[in-house]
């Protein structure tokens, strides 16, 4: 099932990062269950038409953060602890919030201004999602 990951060319992030994120997402929504087997590095490389070294990197990084477990000679499996992905996103959240605080200080924004911006961004996201659902219903 992992062989149908979709990599976006216009995404400016490195390919291995995209692959890592999509694997984490699949774990988060439950399409990949803890303990289930992942395709071998070569299999995935061939299926996605991506170099072996990219898949290796993705698997390596996923293992470092604890999302997957690799057994030498046996391949990789999803880690038994499902909350690990969640922990990763929490970490990202903390980093981004600190970045926002830094930028806010540079631009001289007040707390209220920062909060307003955050609200606007969340609203935009919600509207986009609703709009997308409405479009789906029409079709």
């Amino acid at each position: 099932m992992l062989t149908d990951l979709v990599i976006s060319q216009s995404d400016s992030r490195p390919m291995y990062v995209q692959i890592m994120e999509q694997i984490r997402q699949r774990i988060a929504v439950g399409e990949l269950t803890p303990g289930s087997e992942l395709p071998s590095i070569r299999e995935l490389a061939v299926a996605l038409r991506v170099s072996v070294i990219t898949i290796k990197r993705a698997y390596l990084e996923l293992e470092h953060e604890g999302t997957i477990v690799t057994q030498h000679g046996k391949g990789s499996t999803v880690a038994p602890d499902p909350d690990l992905s969640l922990r990763f996103y929490q970490q990202q959240m903390t980093e981004h919030v600190e970045q926002v605080a830094r930028l806010g200080k540079l631009l001289g924004l007040s707390h209220r201004e920062l909060a307003r911006r955050l609200r606007e961004a969340t609203d935009r996201l919600n509207n986009a999602e609703t709009g997308a659902e409405l479009m789906k219903e029409r079709v």
Binding site: S12, V52, I53
Partner: protein, 298 residues
């Protein structure tokens, strides 16, 4: 440690107007190596020396364990070579070519050949002269792939192909790698393809290898730093900066040895680091060439 499918040591070849100078290459089996270089940089000469079609003046060449050009016949039995130079006979049909290749190479896989005919949408009874450029490229690839070579050497395999054909070809090339012992070396102008499927990348310019490394090392090492300078401040001078562009207040620094410490170093000089951009392989290549030709230390 896997065996080296291709090994060049200090290979040099002199022509009246061009010299291929001290080429060192090490391509392990099971790997994909992408060659990027401008026209006339030496890609084709290197590949010809690899195939034993041209003899090097100095240096050792080993392909699949065979010394070239002395043992070229043994090596070529396991190599599939497709290039702009190798054209098929226009008056003959694809079927005739398939039969000809089948009679020469014992590992010809007829079932796989039939599969490729379908996937590439080729009809064997067609004469080569009636095929479009893209179809001819696919035909040549079919002949190279169906004999199950241990090493595939490709000079511009996707040049001139439409996006659909390109995807098919890349897919088939990657399928070769499902077998761990098979290796691919290809040169291309299409840096997107190289970026996508290569494990190792080599930059060649004016007969010399500019840079050679694992693909992700290239992509990790190179960055563009977009800075906002306070008025009258000088652009920070950091080691590893290859190019300084942009305007005095909004400089863009290109570096080939990125380290997160650079960001803090920039900030210490009073600059704001607005963005740290990754670079595509094409941008990296162009920056390398520019840097080298201007004689700046890299």
């Amino acid at each position: 440690m896997s065996e080296l499918a291709v090994h060049f040591e200090g290979v040099t070849k002199q022509y009246p107007l061009f010299t291929l100078d001290h080429i060192d290459l090490a391509l392990p089996a099971g790997c994909v190596m992408g060659f990027i270089g401008a026209n006339g940089a030496g890609k084709s000469t290197t590949i010809r020396i690899l195939m034993g079609l041209v003899h090097q003046d100095r240096g050792a060449v080993h392909v699949l364990g065979h010394a070239m050009p002395r043992e070229q016949v043994a090596a070529k039995l396991d190599i599939g070579f497709v290039s702009e130079d190798t054209r098929l006979y226009r008056a003959a049909t694809l079927a005739w070519h398939m039969e000809f290749i089948r009679s020469v190479f014992p590992r010809w896989d007829q079932a796989y050949a039939q599969q490729l005919l379908r996937r590439f949408d080729l009809r064997p009874e067609q004469k080569i002269k009636g095929l479009s450029h893209g179809q001819r490229v696919k035909a040549a690839l079919l002949l190279a792939l169906a004999r199950r070579p241990r090493l595939l050497v490709l000079d511009e395999p996707t040049t001139g192909l439409d996006p659909v054909a390109r995807r098919e070809v890349l897919g088939e090339l990657m399928a070769v790698l499902a077998d761990e012992e098979r290796t691919i070396l290809f040169s291309s102008h299409n840096t997107l393809d190289v970026e996508q499927i290569s494990d190792r990348i080599v930059f060649i310019d004016r007969g010399r290898i500019m840079d050679a490394d694992d693909k992700d090392v290239f992509l990790d090492r190179w960055r563009r730093l977009r800075l906002v300078m306070p008025p009258d401040a000088a652009v920070p001078r950091l080691p590893g900066i290859v190019e300084v562009g942009g305007s005095p207040r909004l400089p863009v620094l290109t570096t080939n040895h990125f380290d997160t410490a650079m960001v803090s170093l920039c900030q210490e000089t009073g600059a704001t680091v607005q963005a740290v951009d990754c670079m595509t392989l094409e941008e990296i290549f162009l920056a390398s060439v520019q840097n080298r030709r201007e004689g700046q230390p890299a």
